[in-house]
Amino acid sequence: MSKLNTFPSFGRGALPNQYDLIALALIFGVFVAIGEGTRGINMPLGAVPSADLSLDYRNLPYYALRTTLRMFAAIGASLLFTFTYATLAAKSRRAELVLIPLLDILQSVPILGFLSFTVTFFLGLFPGSTLGAECAAIFAIFTSQAWNMAFSFYQSLRSVPRDLNEVTRGFGLSSWQKFWQLETPFALPSLIWNMMMSMSGGWFFVVASEAITVGDTSVKLPGVGSYLASAIEQRRIDAVIAAVVTMLVVIIAYDQFLFRPLVIFAGRFRVELSVSQTQTRSWVMDLFTRSPWLRAAMAQPAGLFRSIALWRFELPVRAAAEPMNRGTAKAIDMLWLSFIVAVALYALWTIFNYLSQTLTWGDVGQSALLTLFTMLRVILLMILASLIWVPIGVWIGLRPALAEKAQPLAQFLAAFPANVVFPIAVVLILRFKLNPDIWLSFLIVFGTQWYILFNVIAGAQAFPNDLREAVASLKIHGWDWWKSVMLPGIFPYYVTGALTASGGSWNAAIVAEYVKWGDDTVTAHGIGAYIAEATASGDFPKIVLGVAFMSVCVTLFNRLLWRPLFGLAERRLRLD
């Protein structure tokens, strides 16, 4: 279950470069354009038919179904995006120049900050219909899933083994055939792994995006997230617990029906030519392979897919068949680059104009300060979570029987949307009159700490037995054991987990620093609360500013901390 998702490296330096700046400008330019463009059509937004939500438990299965369907729609959209965007980036050098930095920055933009823009945009697209709200919710989930899937696919496409590539060329496979016969199957194991991580993260956003208020517009879609929001409004703790239980059931079902079969299916596509020792079992998969009736039902679509994959789909004329001379190619490169720079500059100018209409330098200073608060919070809690979970994870991971039971639990906890239990924390804070600046902080890592745990468990499990025996015979104990044996051993795994956790924590800050219970609102000082408040009051310029600060901060974090650590782990501390 463990796999290093490595960073793509762009050249030797890890510092943000000009392409990151261009990407940043483009992304926020689009935000501003949407905010600006939908300002005029605020009117029909109030007319959104908000479904009547009842807190009757009997409705929960239906709501769970709606939530799950949204999840499916989003993963479908993410796959479509992955196949097109990543393929384009991998096949065209010029597209790659823009698309990959863009993707890299998009990964760092806190998705919940998006929400207000996308909701306004989609509601404007389908005025007076819940379709807009559905699209907005699905889009929010999509944005939490698509980027890392696209990245993994792009990286796989770039690392297709040379000899397999030569076989397809030798046999004259068309681009379409090659895509389905070689590239997609090759990318599948890593894509499915990333899909699982995406879906785990997705539940959090389903819950957050089903019930949202932007300014005067309130949207509530039938689903577990809205059920929870209503429960919070009406201060019904029993309904909150019912929502938690429903989520538990849904996630377990998801795991059993979808992921386990998928993981087994993906195992077929691993390129290393040996039978792997660890066998995942799935009763659903067994059912499919053992029941002739189900097999027959699957044969038809599978056969159809196989024949589609063998279509040739050749473009009549390949214009690029003749290599251009270097001069022309260089000239086109220059044109393309100056075009991108011009668009980025225009976007920057638009953003500046937009923000300067309502915001002052004071706002900028305030956001910077609040970002600092949130950053401190994330750093401190990451350290705290590491101090707690690394020893526990190692302890569990070195006991195979225990790890086998604990690992699925940790993965399950990582998938569980932590925001479902936030209201309970608020009730406690209110009851005991605790300081929200301190106690709300814990919510930031509440859902994300499990990534550290399950990665550390995986790392300790993978620690070579002969090394353990050597260490035991050398009688290395105590702090030495941690410092020279175990910590370096699990480091690559820890970095993977901590990276995911830290990214998730930034996102969680938006919901964790600003939590409601009925009419009571508990806020902590931080950029997350700033964005959440601005969203609640529909103040778009402030949202742009807050999200921009957060994105820049996350990007810097990734480049200056995580990427070098990843490099170190890859170079020095790999045990295989």
């Binding site: 030569e166 076989v167 046999f171 070689l182 199957p185 077929r268």
Partner: protein
């Protein structure tokens, strides 16, 4: 054979190819004006060592890469892309792990729009021919190496190619499996049961070439040039112990170790001159072990290379670089298929560890220009430190990134053993700290 209708299957004329250096310039040649004709009914062996461009040549013939200059034509028509009448067998098998044996074999046909039933029929026939009956629904990962390579053969044969290209097809297999596969393939060939006209086999195994080929083309390294062409007239099945067979093997060893007449001895063993010489990565243990082996019974300082290769179970691709490194450092001399220790080599064999290291260090400084260059830079600098990237970039001006990296690593290993400098992996710096 000389009549006019016998048009050659493939004609390769003056084909050249270049490396690209790390700095993106056109680097030293891989292939230099190679001309070759392939006709019906022969097994042609391309024999050479790594870096002689034999794999490049194979890919140019298959239409997978374009030559920098020169002409390749198939049945009189110029080759511009992958050719229909050619199929390839890979060293790494290159099977699709997610397809069954049958689907792997069918793929080439299905991609070319051969009907489903027709493809199935032909695939089963090829599987049957190559001895894979009963494995149709197995996945490659369930098969042994030999079985996997059989799938590779079936996949190549099923498209009825005129020319079968084989890129070191047996070198990833263990000795016994490889031998079985060779014999099976030869049987099919001799009995004319394969639908192919010609086989081009790339190999670095001299015995394999003599065992299988009608014609052996010996390529020199850096750049790849044809240095000899040997016709083998022995009848199949050939016997490795046949004196004629042994003679041929010895002759080729001698050919491959012969010093080019017009070159200064010892220069030109490795590509590039002076500091820019591309070096092989050979551990000092291997070097010391080889010196000891030659010094000991029964060789007494002079060994016959084919015998040595057999004793040590080394292929020429492993054996030659070791010998040539020893030659570069003046610990041994290679000539006409023999390797002979020099006085220094003899001294090394007799010495204890510390003395060996000293001797090795002295020879390293004297005869490996890059090592001397690093030492000079370190001596000149007041800090006695230098970043590795400085030398790496210097090397990349002359050779590909891969070669530059390998060369620097080789010098680091040797320099550490000879204690002429220290190298810190974390900061990637050379220094003089430990050795003084």
């Amino acid at each position: 054979m000389l009549d006019a209708r016998a048009k050659p299957l493939f004609e390769i004329q003056n084909v050249s190819q270049h490396y690209h250096t790390g700095s993106g310039e056109i680097g030293p040649p891989v292939l230099d004006k190679v001309s070759l004709t392939l006709s019906d009914g022969e097994i042609v062996g391309l024999l050479g060592r790594s870096g002689c461009g034999k794999s490049s040549l194979l890919r140019i013939i298959a239409g997978l890469t374009k030559a920098a200059s020169g002409d390749v034509s198939y049945l009189g028509k110029p080759v511009t892309g992958p050719v229909d009448g050619v199929a390839m067998v890979f060293q790494s098998f290159a099977l699709f792990p997610w397809l069954t044996v049958l689907a792997n074999v069918e793929l080439g046909l299905r991609a070319r729009k051969v009907g489903k039933d027709e493809a199935r029929r032909r695939a089963l026939k090829a599987i049957d021919l190559i001895g894979l009956d009963g494995y149709e629904s197995a996945f490659p990962k369930e098969l042994s190496g030999g079985m996997r390579q059989r799938v590779g053969f079936a996949r190549a044969l099923v498209v009825n190619p005129n020319l079968l290209l084989m890129d070191e097809p047996f070198s990833a297999l263990d000795v016994l499996t490889a031998e079985t596969l060779r014999t099976d393939l030869l049987d099919l060939w001799v009995e004319g049961r394969m639908p192919i006209k010609t086989i081009l086999l790339v190999t670095h195994n001299i015995e394999e070439a003599v065992l299988m080929c009608n014609r052996i083309i010996v390529l020199s390294s850096h750049p790849g040039r044809i240095t000899a062409e040997i016709t083998v007239t022995l009848k199949h099945p050939r016997n490795r112990l046949d004196p004629e067979f042994r003679q041929l093997v010895d002759k080729i060893y001698a050919l491959m170790t012969r010093r080019p007449a017009n070159e200064v001895p010892r220069e030109g063993v490795f590509p590039g001159l002076g500091v820019a010489m591309a070096l092989p990565r050979i551990s000092t243990n291997t070097l010391a072990g080889m010196i000891e082996e030659i010094a000991a019974e029964p060789h007494h300082g002079k060994a016959d290379l084919p015998t040595l290769a057999e004793d040590l179970q080394m292929e020429i691709d492993e054996l030659f670089p070791v010998g040539e490194t020893l030659q570069l450092m003046r610990f041994a001399e290679i000539e006409e298929g023999d390797i002979k220790l020099t006085a220094a080599g003899q001294r090394f064999a007799d010495a204890e560890t510390d003395e060996r290291k000293k001797l090795f260090g002295d020879h390293l400084l004297a005869y490996v220009p890059l090592a001397a260059h690093i030492k000079v830079v370190l001596d000149e600098r007041p800090t006695h430190h230098a970043r590795a990237i400085r030398f790496l970039e210097e090397l990349e001006d002359h050779m590909s990134e891969e070669y530059a990296d390998r060369t620097l690593k080789a010098v680091i290993t040797w320099g550490r053993y000879g204690e002429i400098f220290a190298y810190d992996e974390t900061s990637e710096t050379f220094s003089l700290e430990n050795p003084e």
